[in-house]
């Protein structure tokens, strides 16, 4: 039977994959995907804790995060499209307009 530890491990692994994906990849779309992976890691963690503690507040937070993630992805992708239209690139190391 799966225990909380398994879920937690899965969550941490997914979070780290997302984190390193966000920091190391240069493609903006892949970075957005990495953000989603991190969010999903959090969702799994909340859901599993809720399941094992018989407390439904975790599930409620999961719903909020899913709704927020959908909105965030929509905005993020549309921004990427706009950036591409403007700068003809989606690679973050080529977008250095804010260099100090």
């Amino acid at each position: 039977m799966l225990s909380l530890t398994h879920y937690t491990t899965l969550s941490i692994v997914l979070f780290l994959i997302g984190l390193f994906g966000f920091i190391l990849r240069r493609n903006l779309i892949v970075m957005l995907v990495s953000l989603e992976i991190m969010l999903n890691a959090i969702i799994i963690l909340f859901a599993s804790i809720s399941h094992f503690t018989k407390d439904i507040s975790g599930y409620i937070i999961v719903f909020f995060i899913i709704a927020m993630a959908a909105a965030e992805t929509a905005i993020g992708l549309s921004l990427v499209v706009l950036i591409y239209k403007k700068l003809k690139t989606v690679y973050s190391d080529e977008i250095t307009n804010f260099k100090g």
């Binding site: 984190l19 920091i23 990849r25 903006l28 970075m31 190391d93 250095t96 307009n97 260099k99 100090g100």
Partner: protein, 657 residues
């Protein structure tokens, strides 16, 4: 003593309260809405408020004559352990008289200003300031404690500054305002210390608590650097510093002549009739404290006498009509302090009262002349006047009445009050009384001389200003001449409340003020024959002054330059006002400026202040230059920084738990 003959009212009285607060409300409304909405109607509210205050002050005066005294607190203003200061009013004979005088004069001068200031771009500002001044003056006169007196004291100083510098685009006016303010600071510093000292030794600031406690300090001495100083002497000396500044006595008199840069109604109200007499009022108010120390009374008397004499020597050499009157104000204020210094506080207050009317009248008359000549480059110069009697009859007659009054011609107000001072100085218990009498007597002749010098030069002879004003002057509008007529009535009858007993009067003012100011400190038996002799001598002095002026300025005009030609050095000395301005410039202004330029500016400004300011800018620059390498513009790095921050937080959290 007060409680015996008077009924003391300690409840809140709306009439008393409204006297000062009506002008305040009018002033604030006029200041806020005047520029946009009232414009040339700005005079309406202040004049109305002053009229109501005037009626109320008459009502309160009648109440006080009827045997009532108001002494109440509106609310407690400052409350800290045993320091309790209230916003309170004390209406006893002294303040009721003062308030009635201030209200009547202020009302008349408000009306006069409608004509004098018409068309000025700062019309609303003028009326707002002058109403505000009246509010503070009422607060000063009516207060029942020293803190509120100080509030009024500083408030009138502020309004004086604002009004002297009313035409602030003129540099001399702005400078004169600053000078008045700064010179007054010197006196007010002493005044504040005096108030602290009264509080330190007596533990209260209320008049009705101070006076019974005075006997506690009548034997106390203070040790300053091994010198034993009598406490009441030091306290009253410090308070007197404030009076010297505000009433423009030597050595702080230098601001008053320059204050004539302000509009003439201001000179009449503030720098002749009311504010400058606040010092005399304060000395009279606190007379039991001053009387404790003979040395202090001597100082008061001789400061007054010296100022009186000095101003009377300067006045005949001046050519600016307002400055002549300003020096005569100095001189008359000197008289009041002389009266206080010989213990004749009632005579001092009486002279204050009559002086307010005839001096305001002199100023307003001068203002009327200036108004008529305002096309001239320097309308104040008496050398371009002459023969104005024909063109400005009302101004002439009222000015003449004021001049006769100040010269002490029998029947006019100035005669009674000046005579009262001189005779009480002569019969004073204090040993310096006779000297004071002599100085006062000499100055009386000089006063008549320089006052009639102005009358003869301005109103007699031929008009000399045809070329500068391209035509002849006209009489001022009714709104200006009617206040002149009212003031002229005041300048005659104000003295009739104090007709001495030798002339068949019953000296009402002495009976009225005696419960507050005490009986004059004179020897017990005054021979009537001597009194008649003194009266005759002072009338003779006045008449001889007028005669001399007539001789020099009408009969034999060649005499006019004899003095200035033959005693050139002395004349220049007098013309330059005893060189006090130059002296102060040399010993105060230049060292201060030198310190400012060479020490403060070089060391503290260049090193410390600029070091801090420029140093902080440079620091920000350096830090910013370093940090800009972190600002790569690449999102991934920012993500790493967020991660780094979270890691630092977690570490801190784990370690600091």
């Amino acid at each position: 003593m007060l409680e015996k003959s008077f009924e003391v009212m300690t409840n809140f009285n709306i009439f008393v309260f409204l006297i000062p607060f009506l002008p305040l409300v009018a002033s604030i409304i006029t200041l806020i809405f005047g520029k946009k909405y009232f414009r040339d109607k700005s005079h309406f509210l202040p004049v109305l408020a002053l009229f109501l205050s005037f009626l109320l002050s008459i009502k309160v005066l009648i109440d006080v004559i009827g045997g009532k005294i108001y002494n109440f607190d509106v609310y407690t203003w400052i409350f800290a352990s045993h320091l309790k200061v209230g916003l309170g009013f004390l209406i006893d004979p002294l303040s009721a008289l003062m308030v009635a005088m201030v209200a009547s004069l202020s009302f008349l001068i408000h009306v006069y200003s409608i004509g004098y200031m018409s068309g000025d771009p700062g019309y609303y500002r003028f009326f707002s300031y002058i109403s505000l001044f009246t509010f503070f003056m009422f607060m000063l006169c009516m207060s029942n404690n020293l803190a509120q007196l100080y509030l009024g004291w500083e408030g009138v100083g502020l309004c004086s500054y604002l009004l002297i510098g009313f035409w602030y685009e003129k540099k001399s006016a702005a400078d004169a305002g600053k000078k008045a303010f700064i010179v007054n600071r010197v006196g007010d510093f002493g005044f504040a210390l005096g108030i602290f000292m009264v509080f330190y030794y007596l533990g209260t600031l209320y008049y009705h608590e101070i006076f019974p406690k005075l006997s506690e300090i009548s034997h106390s001495y203070l040790n300053i650097l091994g010198l034993k100083v009598y406490v009441p002497f030091l306290a009253s000396f410090l308070l007197f510093c404030g009076a010297v500044g505000k009433s423009a006595q030597f050595p702080l008199h230098v601001w008053l002549p320059d204050a004539m840069e302000g509009p003439t109604p201001v000179s009449a109200l503030i720098h002749a009739a009311t504010m400058v007499t606040a010092g005399v009022f304060m000395v009279c108010r606190l007379h039991p404290l001053f009387e404790l120390s003979n040395a202090m009374m001597c100082i008061v008397a001789f400061v007054g006498a010296f100022t009186c004499f000095m101003a009377a020597t300067i006045a005949p050499t001046q050519f600016d009509i307002k400055r002549v009157i300003a020096f005569s104000t100095l001189s008359q204020l000197g008289y009041m302090f002389m009266a206080c210094g010989v213990g004749a506080f009632i005579a001092g207050m009486f002279h204050l009262f009559t002086h307010a009317y005839f001096k305001a009248l002199l100023f307003l008359g001068a203002g009327s002349v200036i108004h008529a000549l305002h096309h001239a480059p320097d309308p104040n110069d008496i050398r371009i006047m002459g023969g104005l009697k024909k063109y400005m009859p009302v101004t002439f007659w009222t000015f003449l009445i004021a001049s006769l009054s100040i010269s002490g011609i029998p029947g006019f107000a100035g005669f009674f009050s000046k005579d009262e001072i001189l005779s009480q100085a002569y019969f004073s218990q204090y040993p310096w009384g006779k000297i004071i009498w002599f100085i006062g007597w000499v100055v009386a002749a000089m006063t008549a001389f320089y006052t009639f010098r102005v009358v003869f030069r301005a109103f007699y002879g031929e008009f000399k200003g045809k070329d500068v004003i391209h035509g002849y002057p006209h009489e001022s509008p009714k709104v200006m001449t009617i206040p002149l007529i009212f003031l002229a009535i005041g300048a005659v009858i104000a003295g009739w409340i104090g007709v001495p007993e030798v002339l068949g009067g019953n000296n009402l003012i002495e009976k009225f003020l005696e419960p507050v100011l005490g009986h004059p400190k004179v020897i017990h038996e005054i021979p009537h024959s001597t009194e008649y002799l003194l009266m005759g001598l002072s009338v003779l002095a006045g008449l001889s002054g007028i005669f001399l002026a007539w001789l020099v300025y009408i009969k034999v005009p060649a005499l006019e330059t004899v003095f200035s030609r033959n005693l050139k050095l002395l004349y220049t000395f007098l013309y330059r006002k005893w060189c006090f301005d130059e002296l102060y410039h040399l010993i105060i202004i230049r060292p201060v400026l030198w310190t400012a330029r060479c020490i403060v500016s070089k060391i503290s400004d260049n090193f410390i202040i600029e070091g801090i300011v420029n140093g902080s800018a440079r620091l920000v620059n350096i830090v910013g230059t370093g940090l800009r390498y972190l600002h790569t513009g690449i999102v991934n790095y920012y993500g790493s920084f967020v991660l780094l921050g979270v890691i630092i937080y977690i570490i801190l959290y784990l370690y600091l738990k």
